[in-house]
């Protein structure tokens, strides 16, 4: 009997967890209605860019047209793939470090009040330091290359992850705790069954904020001193007034951020029940 019941409700649950926007299906129209406006506004932005340059008769070394910018992509002397790989590596490495250490600290804080009470104020103070100001120091300490830029990306992006995760772990209904404690449930059971899954939506909201910060951190590091990466490329092209190349570099940096954000969004969709997501 249970089997029938479950099969019946499965379809209903699938319907329920789907995206709320495209209720009426059939043909490409719902998809178009969902994504069309977003795509159109991007296209409009590019057209506007083009018009401003052409109608304003702006010289290419001040602002290139979209097409001039795009053309730099297939010029081999830019060595795009290599620079992209370096920047992406720094961003991703720093981000991963931020997630690992941010979540690790948040978990440590929920397990030990004294640790939180002593470590949190220090971290808040440290977070007040403008991380950009630390970049030259990191380079003195760690030298040129991928690693110091990764560290800069990490220092900028880890705090929001720590904060949101710690908050999520704390956000448990007291009566739910009563319910588990009345059953003599252990601290570990509360953590693994209630706190940790409950904190996931918060973790993701922190991770989304952190993507932008990690990208900014890596680029700042490359500006300060490096021998590769899109930030390095921008600085080296500045001397030649190669604005088109610099524009392309900025676009590619943003694209790295967008792709990371998209990946986090996708992961969230897979892991977190739609209703539990924190916007």
């Amino acid at each position: 009997m249970g089997g029938v019941v479950r099969r019946m409700s499965e379809t209903a649950a699938q319907r329920g967890t789907g995206n709320g926007d495209d209720r009426q299906s059939g043909g490409p129209w719902p998809l178009l209605r969902r994504w069309g406006p977003g795509i159109a506004s991007h296209v409009a932005l590019i057209v506007l860019w083009h018009l401003v340059v052409v109608l304003g008769e702006i010289p290419p070394f001040i602002m290139p047209t979209p097409w001039q910018t795009l053309q730099t992509l297939w010029q081999p002397d830019y060595q795009w793939p290599g620079h992209i790989a370096i920047t992406a590596g720094e961003v991703f490495g720093g981000y991963l470090l931020a997630v690992t250490i941010g979540v690790g600290l948040a978990v440590a804080f929920t397990w030990s009040r004294p640790v939180e009470r002593s470590a949190m104020p220090v971290l808040v103070t440290l977070n007040m330091i403008p991380k950009v100001a630390m970049a030259p120091l990191f380079i003195v300490w760690l030298g040129y290359g991928l690693f110091p830029n990764m560290v800069i990306a990490f220092t900028i992006s880890f705090f929001p992850i720590l904060l949101t995760t710690a908050r999520g772990l704390r956000e448990v209904e007291p009566e739910l705790l009563d319910l588990v404690r009345a059953l003599k449930g252990s601290r570990w059971q509360i953590f693994i069954k209630i706190q940790l899954p409950g904190a996931l939506p918060y973790l993701f909201s922190g991770m989304k904020v952190a993507t932008v910060l990690a990208v900014a951190g890596a680029i700042v590091g490359e500006f300060m001193g490096s021998s590769g990466g899109l930030g390095y490329l921008m600085q080296s092209r500045q001397g030649f007034l190669d604005t088109a190349g610099m524009f392309m570099a900025v676009i590619l940096v943003s694209l790295i951020g967008v792709l990371m954000y998209g990946a986090v969004l996708l992961l969230e969709r897979l892991v977190v029940v739609s209703d539990a997501r924190v916007e």
């Binding site: 479950r6 009563d178 009345a182 059953l183 449930g185």
Partner: protein, 265 residues
């Protein structure tokens, strides 16, 4: 005062509370939440606990759940060992609160299974029981839904199923229908009575609703404004199964008036 609330006709009460006192200690300040509660509950009874807001009802329930210590008096629930009166703290308590408190990321059936997981019960049997319980609370077919796909009343039904999953001897309910609309609430009262009569569990039911208290209970315990003292306990001598029409009878009105008088309203 105590003589009033002692019950001579329950020879071997399942719950025996005698002159229970509770002091909360917060930031060096002591706060007397319960000054003197004496209450007997027989096995299989459904006792309502009524009293003004803040008088200490939830506190009494938490003491029964073993969540809080108490300063004075004694609390004895069931007996150690085997048999219908055997009681094992932790294993034998189910709880329902005003909010359903379902875990958003778990399907309804997995929410119902939470206590079984915590107690480490055999999961295959527990899952079968969970589906039966969902059937009992009128949620057959909703096992694989997520809480947000259910109405408030349905979520509360799931919470009741969760309180029964480990087959506890004692179910403690703290204003379980307080957040529901009047119509749903009356319906849930009837459902609760049916579930109680099927399962024959001992239930202690905290409520603000005077009508609700009388309608469902075998006995009503009235607490004074905090710190809680027993104002009175009395048996509700109305036959089961009870129907909503009962509420307009004179006998029912006598019981509710008695509570209003005790609460000086």
């Amino acid at each position: 005062m105590h003589g009033l609330s002692s019950r001579a006709d329950i020879a071997e009460p399942f719950i025996r509370m005698r002159n229970v006192r509770k002091v909360y200690r917060t930031r060096g300040q002591d706060f007397l939440a319960v000054s003197d509660v004496t209450l007997d509950v027989g096995a299989g009874e459904l006792v309502s606990l009524v009293g003004p807001s803040g008088c200490g009802k939830s506190t009494v329930l938490k003491i029964l759940a073993g969540l809080h210590s108490h300063e004075g008096g004694e609390v004895v629930i069931g007996r150690a060992g085997y048999g219908p009166e055997a009681f094992e703290a932790g294993r034998d308590v189910g709880m329902v609160f005003q909010q359903p408190l379902l875990l958003k990321w778990r399907r309804v059936v997995d929410n119902v299974l939470l206590p079984a997981e915590i107690l480490g019960l055999p999961m295959r049997a527990a899952r079968e029981r969970a589906l039966d319980l969902l059937d009992m609370v009128g949620l057959a077919g909703f096992a694989d839904k997520y809480p947000y796909e259910l109405s408030g009343g349905m979520q509360q039904r799931a919470a009741i199923a969760r309180a029964f999953i480990h087959d506890p001897k004692l179910v403690l309910m703290d204003e379980p229908f307080g957040a529901l609309d009047a119509l749903t609430r009356e319906k849930m009262n009837l459902e609760l009575l049916r579930i109680w009569q099927d399962s024959r569990k001992t239930i202690v039911f905290v409520t603000h609703g005077i009508q609700e208290a009388v309608f469902i209970a075998t006995r009503v315990a009235v607490l004074t404004a905090g710190p809680a003292r027993m104002a009175d306990t009395f048996t509700v001598d109305l036959p089961y199964p009870r129907e909503l029409g009962l509420k307009s009878t004179a006998a029912f009105g006598d019981y509710t008036r008695r509570i209003y008088d005790l609460l000086e309203m």
